[in-house]
């Protein structure tokens, strides 16, 4: 199966899931929604395993750049958001203050994760700089 057919099937499955979830919302039956989503996911996993998806170096470059851009936008945004929430909601809006704390830890987690993965990859690709 090629990627084009896989994308078509994926669109169909997404349509099926959205219809099932809509019906379950109308009928107030969460079981139907869970069953629909799980069936769709399982079907997609099966189809994906049968599909030949080529991940070449251009695709990897695109992913690298997308990840880099996501980090560059997400980390400062969430960091600033956490600062604003913890500073301006302090002692008055407890819910927002808690949300600010969650954002703060999330920011720290993302920065730590980036630093660890950067250090690991830098070492892997010979960026120690100790040898002459």
């Amino acid at each position: 199966m090629n990627i084009k057919k896989y994308k078509q099937i994926r669109a169909l499955v997404a349509f099926f899931i959205s219809v099932t979830v809509s019906i379950s919302v109308v009928q107030d039956s969460y079981l139907l929604a869970v069953a629909g989503v799980l069936t769709g996911m399982l079907f997609l996993i099966l189809v994906r395993s049968k599909t030949k998806i080529v991940v070449d170096e251009r695709e990897k470059t695109v992913r690298e750049k997308a990840a880099q851009m996501t980090y560059a936008i997400f980390a400062p945004t969430i960091g600033l958001g956490s600062f604003v929430l913890t500073m301006f909601a302090r002692g008055e809006f407890y819910y927002l203050e808690s949300l600010g704390m969650v954002f703060t830890y999330l920011t720290l987690f993302i920065i730590a994760l980036y630093s660890i993965s950067y250090h690991f990859l830098n070492k892997k690709y010979g960026g120690n700089g100790d040898e002459e």
Binding site: V54, D56, R58, E59
Partner: protein, 67 residues
């Protein structure tokens, strides 16, 4: 950097899809390389040159940027 992949592909009577399959990349990547939107890695450049049985510099032409 310019390249002559399109010419060599025509000489060897290969479609973009066939070339992509032969060197293990996607057709989109072949299109991107041919239209100078993506610069292939050294490994991939060698692979392409090896497939067409020519030297790497016969396919990829380095152009110095003039200020």
């Amino acid at each position: 950097m310019k390249n002559k992949i399109k010419i060599h592909r025509a000489i060897h009577n290969l479609t973009q899809e066939q070339l992509a399959t032969k060197i293990g990349i996607s057709r989109q990547t072949v299109i991107a390389i041919e239209s100078d939107k993506y610069l292939p890695s050294l490994g991939l450049a060698f692979k392409i040159a090896h497939l067409f049985k020519v030297k790497i510099e016969d396919i990829f032409l380095y152009e110095e940027i003039k200020n």
